[in-house]
């Protein structure tokens, strides 16, 4: 069933098959060229990779554990392992990419970092990396997301970053990305745009994947040590898709390992009620990349809905679109209600409160387990912890705090 991916993606034009590329205003082309060559040089430089690895160990706390979930395993009749990105400093996988990019920006001589954020996790991670490394930082965030993720807004400010609310469009992640791109176009000579997911114009999907690949590299070693064999399946949520590609990448050539990505099914199947790009979208070009996009007949990008701000995005990372075409990865959807149920389940059975984003992956655990033989092994990426979501979940469930 699973086929190996081609040896090298993206190609030299930044393409994953027909997806990806570099669809940006002309002003940004030289900056993307500079970033591409600067990144390639840095990644060959042991000084750079050594510093990155040291920070992942000493500052982030890597490797993150691979936890055997005993009760879930019993319930499902499969061996369920949890990759604990929730235990990273700042509470999610986002720090891997943010640290890498801020280190890279410093090496390229940039004075200032900008970033977009949806759930606030990438914003917090970028603000953290900037505080550590000593660069000025401004975060763009949709005003609707600022409401949903108020504690993260305060965290970013505590870390010395400026948080700018974005009130255009749908007041969510896509609008924050537009605003960050506008800032970058205006300040491109001294500013690095620390894009938070495996999305955007080349080389961002490649850079983000490279920095996040540590998730799968660790998980592969950990499962081989624990079980003496590779897993049968990987399971991760997909907004832009960085935690998923981070987990998948090290297993790409392991043809027996099936990969499952879970998109936000929101509150229904209508356009505007979900963020399931592969279900309700079609190919197009948006915010720098060719990929699957939620859009209307006239090509206008549509609003999305998800209980989880981090999955609430109209487009999916281009590599995921390609992996889906190849049949190398499979994509499912999980509704708001199912995700909330999965959050409770993991909290009650394993003592871990997952982020609402990660809860979407967990919400399809039973579906994936049913597709595996009894005793099969699945690794679920718990991409972040749920502390940031506690107030919002209480509000949804009508609990006064």
């Amino acid at each position: 069933m699973a086929k190996p991916a081609p040896a090298r993606t993206p190609d030299r034009h930044g393409r994953f098959g027909p997806y990806g590329g570099r669809y940006v205003p002309e002003t940004l082309i030289p900056a993307l060229d500079e970033l591409e060559s600067g990144f390639a040089k840095a990644w060959r430089d042991k000084g750079f990779t050594g510093e990155f690895r040291r920070l992942l160990a000493d500052f982030v706390g890597r490797p993150s554990p691979l936890t055997f979930a005993a009760k879930l395993s019993k319930e499902t009749g499969r061996k369920v392992y949890l990759k604990r990105e929730d235990l990273n400093h700042t509470g999610a996988h986002k720090i891997n990419n943010a640290l890498g990019q801020v280190l890279l920006a410093k090496r390229l001589g940039k004075k200032r970092i900008i970033a977009e954020t949806g759930a606030g996790q990438h914003g917090v991670a970028t603000a953290t990396a900037c505080a550590l490394i000593g660069l000025k930082c401004r975060i763009y965030m949709g005003t609707e997301d600022m409401r949903r993720q108020a504690p993260n807004v305060f965290r970013m400010r505590l870390l010395g970053s400026e948080v700018v609310g974005v009130d255009s469009g749908t007041h969510t992640l896509k609008d924050a990305v537009n605003e960050a791109l506008r800032d970058w176009v205006a300040n491109v000579t001294d500013t690095h745009y620390c894009l938070g997911t495996a999305y955007g114009p080349h080389p961002f999907p490649l850079i983000c994947r490279t920095f996040q690949a540590v998730i799968g590299q660790e998980a592969r070693k950990q499962i081989l040590k624990a079980e003496g064999r590779l897993p049968d399946a990987l399971l991760a949520c997909v907004g832009g898709g960085s935690n998923a590609i981070g987990l998948f990448h090290a297993f790409m050539k392991d043809a027996t390992v099936r990969m499952f990505g879970v998109e936000a099914g929101g509150r229904g199947a209508q356009l505007g009620d979900h963020a399931a790009r592969f279900d309700g979208g079609r190919p197009g070009v948006f915010q720098g990349a060719a990929t699957w996009i939620l859009q209307d007949d006239a090509g206008q990008i549509q609003g999305t809905h998800s209980v989880s701000a981090g999955l609430d995005y109209a487009a999916v990372g281009p590599e995921h679109a390609f992996l889906r075409d190849l049949g190398r990865a499979e994509y499912l959807r999980c509704s708001d209600t199912e995700a909330l149920k999965a959050m409770h389940r993991l909290a009650e059975t394993e003592g871990i409160i997952p982020a609402l984003e990660s809860s979407h992956a967990l919400g399809r655990l039973d579906t994936v387990c049913e597709r595996l033989k009894k005793g099969g092994i699945v690794i679920v990426n718990v991409s972040g912890r749920g502390d940031k979501d506690v107030a919002e979940v209480a509000r949804i469930e009508g609990v006064a705090l």
């Binding site: 590329g21 940006v24 205003p25 002309e26 469009g169 070009v285 990008i301």
Partner: protein
């Protein structure tokens, strides 16, 4: 009648944009390019404004085809797109407005938009319908030419001038590449940043445009941030023409509901055009 613009950018076919800019250049005259977001406040107004612009001496009208996520545009044009979309503007509607404008005047029309609405329409169908309605060119803000040479060829095959952009960050090698791919004129984004009015022109404008003109044997028009007749004249003097967008779009916003909309905005366009044409 117009036919294809063929061959490298140096050749000027009977495309209206190329013909107008070349005729102006031959006469030692600078060109004035105006921008409006089509459908703001509604497409009927766009048709009237376009015809009034023709009478006011505008050389080329860029018609923005509204897009939900205009990442290269500042607040004025973003807001105008939102108004136009709310009023129901679609690419199909804009092409129909082009047909109505073309029935009344010969003003060269350049469709200015982002890639996704064109992809959704279908590139071939868009090229064919836009050309049949009487559009003369297409400028896609998020399509660097190397990303999709076939798309540019499809547009050019219908006689549409594919206007490319160059920026202050553009390298010397890339300037030549962009000039080779551009038809009608080469659009110089004279400053870093998105569209929108600014108080001053960049101090090194003339030098930068000289560099660009060395690479380009088609006219160079200068835009982004030009907000007064004086600035328009100054920018045009540095190259072959000036583009004014946000400034006019804001006037449309202020007078959108007024019966004087067309008169007010056309008067401002005329002041800009006169200033540009007076450059000797």
């Amino acid at each position: 009648m117009k036919s294809e613009v063929r061959g490298p950018g140096s050749e000027v076919g009977p495309n209206r944009i190329a013909a107008r800019l070349q005729a102006n250049a031959n006469a030692g005259r600078k060109s004035f390019v105006a921008y409006l977001s089509a459908g703001d406040p509604h497409l009927d107004a766009t048709v009237e404004l376009a015809c009034a612009f023709d009478a006011a001496g505008v050389d080329v009208l860029e018609l923005g085809v509204p897009f939900s996520d205009p990442m290269a545009d500042g607040v004025a044009i973003q807001a105008s797109y939102e108004r136009a979309l709310k009023a129901g503007a679609t690419p199909r509607g804009v092409i129909e407005a082009v047909r109505r404008i073309r029935a009344r005047c010969e003003l060269p029309l350049l469709l200015f938009t982002y890639l996704n609405p064109v992809l959704a329409y279908g590139v071939e169908a868009f090229a064919r319908d836009a050309a049949a309605a009487g559009a003369d060119g297409v400028l896609l803000l998020d399509l660097p030419p190397e990303q999709d040479p076939a798309m540019l060829a499809t547009l050019q095959a219908q006689g549409l001038a594919t206007v490319c952009l160059a920026a202050p960050t553009t390298t010397a090698e890339r300037r030549r590449f962009l000039a080779r791919n551009s038809r009608g004129f080469l659009y110089y984004i004279c400053r870093l940043g998105v569209t929108g009015e600014r108080a001053e022109l960049p101090p090194d404008l003339a030098k930068r445009v000289r560099e660009l003109k060395k690479a380009a044997d088609i006219p160079v028009c200068i835009g982004f941030g030009i907000s007064s007749p004086e600035q328009a004249a100054q920018a045009a003097a540095a190259g072959d023409g000036a583009v004014v967008g946000s400034h006019l779009v804001k006037l449309v916003e202020q007078h959108g509901a007024s019966p004087d909309l067309v008169a007010v905005v056309a008067a401002r366009a005329k002041a800009m055009a006169d200033a540009v044409h007076s450059v000797g």
